[in-house]
Symmetry: C2
Subunit: 198 residues, 2 copies
């Protein structure tokens, strides 16, 4: 690298660029070293910034981890709005399955399931909030008349998210590409009904 090509020294990386660099480094350190190994020092070294900059931006290690978790998941799993509930759900849960199949995704979910007295309330709120957001896709379908008015959007989302989380955390079954569409068809159509394509 030519001398004039060098990146700005750590302390000069301010604002949005430093924020992205630190959050990306946090995700990497989490995936590689787990919750216990994700110290402000390790993140600062991985991001090429000074520890004091991290403390200035996030104040605590817990805030930093939570914000990194939120950014990573929200960017990887955007909320679609295609106008058809099946398409929305297959897209959304397909993206979630792909995320959970990566080492980073599994580490982030595992972090959320770990008990750690410094974090629990924030993490519970984080996932409740994400499940609520997913429920918006189902609520929109009810508004459009695509699903009956007595549909419980939160329960539909839990029946779709639960099996993905269970495969990642507990059973170890594969998070393959067919899983999300099969689950969506089951939960929308019901096990008692003949399958649309059958």
């Amino acid at each position: 690298m030519a001398p004039d090509d060098q990146p700005a020294p750590p302390l000069r990386r301010r604002g949005a660029r430093m924020r992205s660099a630190v959050l990306a480094a946090t995700v990497d350190v989490l995936a590689e070293h787990g919750l216990a190994g994700t110290t402000v020092g390790a993140v600062a070294r991985a991001a090429g910034v000074h520890e004091t900059s991290v403390y200035r931006g996030w104040r605590t290690r817990e805030n930093l981890i939570l914000e990194a978790l939120a950014e990573q998941l929200d960017a990887a799993v955007p909320l679609p709005d295609t106008g058809r509930v099946r398409d929305d759900l297959v897209t959304y849960f397909g993206a979630l399955a792909r995320l959970l199949a990566t080492p980073q995704g599994e580490a982030l979910l595992r972090l959320s399931a770990e008990r750690d007295d410094t974090l629990p309330d924030h993490r519970l709120a984080y996932w409740s909030d994400r499940l609520d957001r997913g429920a918006v896709m189902v609520a929109r379908a009810v508004e459009r008349g695509e699903l009956p008015p007595d549909t419980d959007p939160g329960l539909v989302i839990e029946a779709l998210a639960g099996p993905l989380f269970t495969r990642a955390l507990i059973s170890g079954a594969p998070l393959d590409a067919t899983l999300a569409p099969r689950l969506v068809d089951l939960v929308l159509g019901g096990a008692s009904a003949p399958k649309p394509g059958a």
Copy 2:
């Protein structure tokens, strides 16, 4: 306690009685002290037996923990066979929800989700095996003609178990008595169909 009322001394408790006492003590120690605190010494003290008896019966701490986990869950959540799939599933997943709402149940599930290089393969097999067993209820309904022949029994069980595990491990939402019947009606009937009672 009168002197002649005393239990037999530890070394005299043999066979089935010692086995039950040790497994029950293992569950209690796990629930109270977690995986790291569940040593053979702690279990032996809680059960009132000698450590050598535990090693003689189980050889390793891992074998002991896995057998205790299996016994506890299988006894608390028996597999019903009422002849009606809705009744079977509501009974089974209602019992699972009640178990997971107890500190012991949550601790046992949490143990299964923890990464610990001494245990992982056994635990993956344990849960895969339990999910397979649950699938028998759905497979019987297919044989009876109560569900269509192209039903995927394992997927139905995952859609019902996943939300319970997720509430216990991740979202912290309550495992109340209405959850299992609402989930079973959703997964059997499908979100797209008008509800039977609506």
